[in-house]
């Protein structure tokens, strides 16, 4: 077995590049996360609606994003849309694909949270003369969304990791930096070990934030 | 003859909670001892110490002359190895409140599992013994059923058969009827009564006062981690001496007629 030799110099010299990649990763993840929240909420309304015209498209959409790889969704947007006349920058394509994919999962998280709210909450609202939409808006959703925060943060962590796929549609994020560096230097695994460590650190920070939040919330209950 | 169970100054704590406080008693061969007391008094903990499911912190427990769970080396107690502890459990059978049958196995498989793998008894012989035991508890026709198909009372009787299949010297019963619907309690108590008559040494934790009066050679009353009173059923139930036992029994005479 050949010796394991780690070229620290190349890593050191290229730290600014890693940082640039990390920033793009965070940027695309942040944009997609916010968009996912909004899109997920919209989908939620469709998903829990009693009207078939809203319910079925939402179900179809969610099943689609669950059963098709994110990469294919990205390729459809990046390679496919231009042939229909819709061209966006690779960053936007990546962000859209991430939003489309995670929006579906987010809607399901919201749905689970809404269903976990006991019916007595609805009954109190109705008893006070409130209509269904108002009850949802003022009583159910605030509680549901608050209880969904841990799952939401977990989903954002997954989103951050999925952002690495944007490297294959020319978004210069962290993983793409890895590809560039291995092409133009002699270092190969050193680059990706470094990138792996960076991802682990970032997702650990997010997980710790999640734990901290959960502990704070638990104490209050 | 040496008592088959000898408990000397046993203490057990769970964290800051001191559950067993200097408990001492003995059980003779063939005796049926019933332990009663309020919830939280430590009776279940004591029972589980008798087969080392709960590891007692200080004191000594001797099962048939052998120190349980620990070895005395130069006067100090050292925890025995896992193999030795497992071996000592072969002699003490226990039946739990929640039956704890293995759901993925049939009744027969439940019963022959340990005899074949632990006591290394030949499978054919183990099956024969299992059938005899099932017959004794009245469930021979349920041989190939899975526990989920049986009623609570039936599952508990299978649990008794499973414990007996190891041919233990002592049988422990931990509130075995508390989780059963009232109609099913009788069939289990009948099996236990029969077992006591056949001369098995039994330690029984229960709330069933009629059963205690009927079957026990001796009743032990515990409160707050200590043994407060013990004696024959007549002594303990009809003429309780301590105030706490009187208070405890009062609750029962209000619901039942002792």
């Amino acid at each position: 077995m050949p010796t394991f030799h780690f070229d620290y110099l190349i890593i050191e010299r290229n730290l600014p590049l890693f940082l640039k990649g990390l920033i793009v990763t965070i940027e695309i993840s942040a944009v997609a996360s916010v968009a996912t929240l909004i899109w997920g909420l919209i989908l939620l309304f469709f998903r829990i609606s009693k009207r078939k015209i809203f319910y079925w498209p939402a179900m179809g959409y969610i099943e689609f994003v669950r059963n098709v790889p994110v990469l294919i969704q990205m390729y459809i947007i990046y390679f496919g849309l231009p042939s229909l006349g819709l061209t966006f920058s690779s960053f936007v394509c990546g962000a859209m694909a991430l939003t489309i994919q995670n929006g579906g999962y987010m809607a399901e998280i919201f749905r689970g949270a809404v269903e976990s709210i006991s019916t007595s909450q609805y009954e109190s609202g109705f008893a006070l003369g409130m209509r269904r939409f108002l009850v949802m808006r003022k009583i159910i959703l605030p509680q549901a969304l608050k209880s969904a925060i841990p799952s939401m943060i977990s989903q954002f962590i997954l989103l951050l990791k999925d952002s690495s796929l944007a490297s294959s549609i020319a978004v210069v994020e962290l993983t793409h930096i890895g590809k560039l560096l291995t092409e133009r230097s002699a270092a190969t695994y050193e680059v990706f070990i470094t990138i792996a460590i960076i991802y682990i650190v970032v997702s650990s920070i997010m997980s710790l934030a999640l734990d901290y939040y959960e502990r704070k919330v638990r104490v209050l209950r | 003859m040496e008592p088959i169970i000898k408990v000397v100054n046993v203490n057990k704590s769970f964290g800051n909670l001191h559950v067993l406080k200097d408990v001492s008693f003995t059980v003779e061969r063939g005796e049926a001892v019933v332990v009663i007391g309020t919830s939280g008094c430590g009776k279940t903990t004591l029972l589980r110490c008798l087969n080392f499911l709960n590891e007692y912190d200080s004191g000594e427990i001797y099962i048939d002359g052998e120190l349980l769970g620990y070895k005395k080396v130069n006067g100090k107690l050292h925890r025995r190895s896992e193999e030795e502890i497992a071996k000592s459990r072969e002699e003490v059978g226990i039946v739990f409140q929640s039956f704890n049958l293995f759901p993925h196995m049939t009744v027969l498989e439940n019963i022959i599992l340990s005899p074949t793998y632990v006591r290394k008894i030949e499978k054919k012989k183990a099956i024969e013994t299992a059938k005899e035991l099932l017959d004794r508890v009245g469930l021979l026709d349920k041989l190939d059923e899975h526990p989920v198909r049986l009623s609570g009372g039936q599952q508990q009787r299978v649990a008794i058969a499973r414990a007996l299949a190891m041919q233990p010297k002592i049988m422990l019963f931990d509130e075995v009827t508390s989780a059963l619907d009232p109609e099913l309690v009788g069939e289990v108590l009948a099996v236990m009564k029969q077992l006591a008559k056949s001369g098995m040494t039994m330690v029984i934790v229960t709330h069933e006062m009629h059963f205690a009066k009927d079957v026990a050679n001796r009743i032990i009353f515990m409160d707050d981690g200590r043994i407060v009173e013990q004696g024959s059923p007549k002594e303990v139930l009809s003429t309780p001496k301590s105030g706490r036992l009187q208070a405890f029994l009062k609750r029962f005479t209000e619901d039942y007629f002792l």
Binding site: P69, I76, S168, Y189, Y199, I200 | P103
Partner: protein, 215 residues
């Protein structure tokens, strides 16, 4: 448009077969790794539990794509020539194994404590009752979630196209370059993935219903 689908189908079908084959291999390897490490994650030895914890933590903290590249470039360290196929199989198996490990661990921990109480009380030692009582029940319980993992595995394999391993996605890439109709081709590819994954998810639901009936 129909002729487009018909013309490209043979090539895509070959890719689809490769995808299924690869997913199956990775799932099987992942099951071996996952079940072993799931069991090891609960045994009394702190050292081994720590190692498994580290494995799960590190693997799940990085994107699969990064693991893919990392494995690819680390192959020479193990004396293996750079081989995208081996790197792909190894990394997806390891990644899948981490998920399966967590499922097995959760299943073992979800079993009632009374099961080990009963087994210990019958004189059984640790590995005997793990083998005969705990693990069989945990595996049974894990079956529906594992079908879900199989579904995820198929989606994972789409990444191997990035390191030029033949699969459905790579076939799609090639066809879209040839036909210059990327949208239609990738839509077709999406449909094929959908059929595979959706079938698996229905299978998972069916299994869950059946198992709940028995236990």
């Amino acid at each position: 448009m129909f002729s487009l689908f018909v013309g490209t189908f043979p090539h895509l079908a070959k890719g689809a077969v490769n995808t299924l084959y690869f997913s199956a291999v990775c799932l099987i390897l992942g099951l071996v790794i996952g079940i072993l490490s799931g069991i090891l994650s609960v045994i009394p030895s702190k050292i081994i539990r720590g190692i498994i914890f580290a494995y799960i933590y590190l693997i799940r903290g990085i994107p699969l794509l990064v693991l893919l590249f990392l494995t690819y470039y680390m192959l020479p360290l193990f004396g293996i020539d750079l081989n995208a196929g081996i790197a792909a199989a190894a990394s997806i198996s390891i990644y899948t194994g981490a998920f399966i490990s967590e499922i097995i661990r959760a299943a073992i921990n979800s079993l009632p404590g009374g099961q080990t109480d009963a087994a210990k009380s019958l004189g059984m030692e640790y590995w005997l009752y793990m083998r005969k009582v705990i693990v069989p029940q945990a595996l049974r319980q894990s079956l529906p979630p594992i079908v879900n993992i199989a579904l995820m595995c198929i989606k994972f394999t789409a990444l191997i196209s990035i390191i030029s391993v033949n699969d459905l996605t790579l076939a799609g890439k090639e066809m879209s370059e040839v036909t210059l109709k990327p949208f239609h081709i990738y839509a077709e590819v999406a449909l094929i993935y959908f059929i595979f994954c959706f079938s698996l998810s229905r299978l998972g639901l069916y299994l869950e219903k059946r198992l709940h009936y028995v236990h």
